[in-house]
């Protein structure tokens, strides 16, 4: 049987359509995926992301371990409370997974793993950890809510403890703070301002209900996917994967090359690619005709195969179809996408498509 989050019954009570996702029964939507999408762009929505797994890593050599495990450099986070987005690579420089890492104290970190890959990620992490002997704790006792949208903080803050509230009022984007057992980060995956709240399983039902009572709309995985696509954010297993370099997945910016003496898993392979001209690059696409871009559709330029759609879908904000794609380096402007045997015109654009409620690409 699939795993269920502590909110399973609450989702059903809110009218959710439940679907299997990464080994979990999760809400796809609560009636209308498009209305949930707009709620996050215009007001506030809450997502149950308790299927994602927090992992706490601590110990004298925890920092050294994470500087070896991850392509981004946690030494960039000077103070407790800072967050870092990073890829976890294999020795050939492919992306095993992407994650957000929070520094909690000098020797203590929390990272959040994708649901579908939690077990394999953990096996990988444990296998690399031995020389550093960190304490690795999988936090199955914690649930996670993402409250997102321009009104998210204003609506959610009054529901949290006074102590936490005063800290959150000052909290900068991509930072976190914690009081007692409640960990709150100003992060998210929608392109909007908002919070991600990690708290004990037994407390999440109460908070969920209070967020809904405050007028925050429950949102499912469907809206999460269209929001993250509009925000130009990557989806593990689609836009990147173990066979593909972060340099051709639009994730080159997450690699910390300096200091050059820092060795991290995958570095040697990436160094070889780094100075060679890249055959492919990662772009956004706007479909100019009617249809919907989907993962795996081929891209054609001058009757030649020129790339592939890695993520695609309908953008509720643009009311057009958009996608992310890996494309041969020389293509700069127009291309065609082959959809069910027909070739439809598309234009290259620079993601994000939408951020903070505003359309960011020329239409």
């Amino acid at each position: 049987m699939a795993h269920r989050t502590p909110l399973f019954a609450a989702h059903q009570a809110a009218g959710a359509r439940m679907v299997p996702f990464g080994g979990w029964d999760m809400p796809l939507h609560y009636g209308s995926q498009i209305e949930e999408h707009h709620a996050v762009r215009r007001a506030a929505g809450v997502f149950d992301v308790s299927h994602m797994r927090a992992l706490d890593i601590s110990g004298t050599h925890a920092s050294d371990f994470l500087r070896y495990l991850l392509a981004n450099d946690i030494a960039r986070i000077k103070d407790p409370g800072g967050a870092l987005y990073s890829c976890m690579l294999n020795p050939s420089g492919g992306v095993i997974d992407d994650l957000i890492l929070y520094r909690r104290s000098a020797d203590s970190y929390r990272l959040v793993l994708n649901a579908a890959t939690t077990d394999s990620d953990l096996d990988w992490i444990n296998a690399q950890a031995e020389p550093f002997a960190p304490v690795i704790s999988r936090r199955d006792d914690l649930a996670m809510l993402a409250v997102q949208g321009p009104e998210a903080r204003a609506k959610a803050l009054p529901l949290l403890s006074a102590d936490l509230r005063s800290a959150l009022e000052q909290l900068k984007p991509f930072h976190a703070c914690e009081r007692d057992e409640c960990f709150v980060a100003r992060t998210g995956y929608t392109g909007e301002d908002g919070l991600e709240i990690i708290l004990p399983n037994e407390q999440v039902i109460d908070l969920w209900q209070r967020l809904l009572n405050a007028g925050i709309r429950p949102c499912g995985l469907g809206a999460r996917d269209t929001l993250r696509l509009e925000a130009g954010m990557h989806l593990s297993g689609q836009d990147m994967g173990p066979e593909v370099s972060p340099l051709t997945s639009g994730l080159g910016w997450t690699i910390a090359w300096e200091p050059s003496e820092r060795d991290f898993i995958g570095r040697a392979a990436l160094e070889k690619q780094r100075h060679a001209p890249l055959a492919e690059r990662f772009v956004g696409l706007l479909l100019l005709e009617r249809g919907v871009l989907r993962h795996g559709q081929p891209i054609v330029v001058n009757d030649q195969g020129a790339g592939v759609i890695t993520s695609g879908g309908f953008s509720p904000t643009l009311e057009r179809s958009i996608g992310l794609a890996r494309i041969t380096a020389e293509v700069t402007d127009a291309c065609q996408v082959e959809i069910r045997g027909k070739r439809l015109a598309a234009r290259l654009v620079k993601p994000p498509f939408v951020r903070h409620g505003e359309i960011k690409i020329p239409r």
């Binding site: 939507h29 995926q33 469907g222 989907r294 879908g313 179809s321 069910r340």
Partner: protein, 129 residues
């Protein structure tokens, strides 16, 4: 609970077919199917003049999440398509059995209609979902 009108028949792939009484039939997808698909954003209809055989994939509906093939329940020639769906695919979400019809075709072999499910049988089928 999905509506299952009794004036028409259904395929096990969730299309409905209404005999128009003039040698043609109208085809759409069931209320149950539109509900499962969610918000529809694009419909690719067949072309007028297409010769279809029963169970042939002939149209595509795309929801926000995924594309789904639509199969012709019977054989025949397409004589009309619902042009309104080009700009308003959500008509299927709002009225799957009425304004959200997809295409009309000639009835090549009336016995193919008899092989489809009546409302009661279709209701039982979707109750199992």
């Amino acid at each position: 609970m999905s509506q299952v009108p009794t004036d028409r028949v259904y395929s096990d792939s969730h299309e409905w077919l209404l005999d128009n009484g003039d040698g043609t039939a109208t085809v759409g997808i069931s209320d149950h199917a539109q509900e499962a698909l969610g918000d529809l954003v694009f419909v690719e209809t067949p072309s007028i003049g297409d010769e279809l055989s029963a169970k042939q994939a002939c149209a595509v509906v795309e929801s926000v999440k995924a594309a789904s093939d639509i199969y012709s329940p019977i054989s025949g020639e397409v004589v009309e398509v619902n042009e309104l769906l080009v700009d308003n695919p959500e008509l299927i979400n709002g009225d799957a059995h009425g304004e959200g019809w997809i295409f009309r075709l000639t009835i090549a072999d009336p016995t193919e209609i008899e092989a489809l499910l009546d409302a009661e049988a279709y209701g039982e089928l979707i109750a199992e979902d």
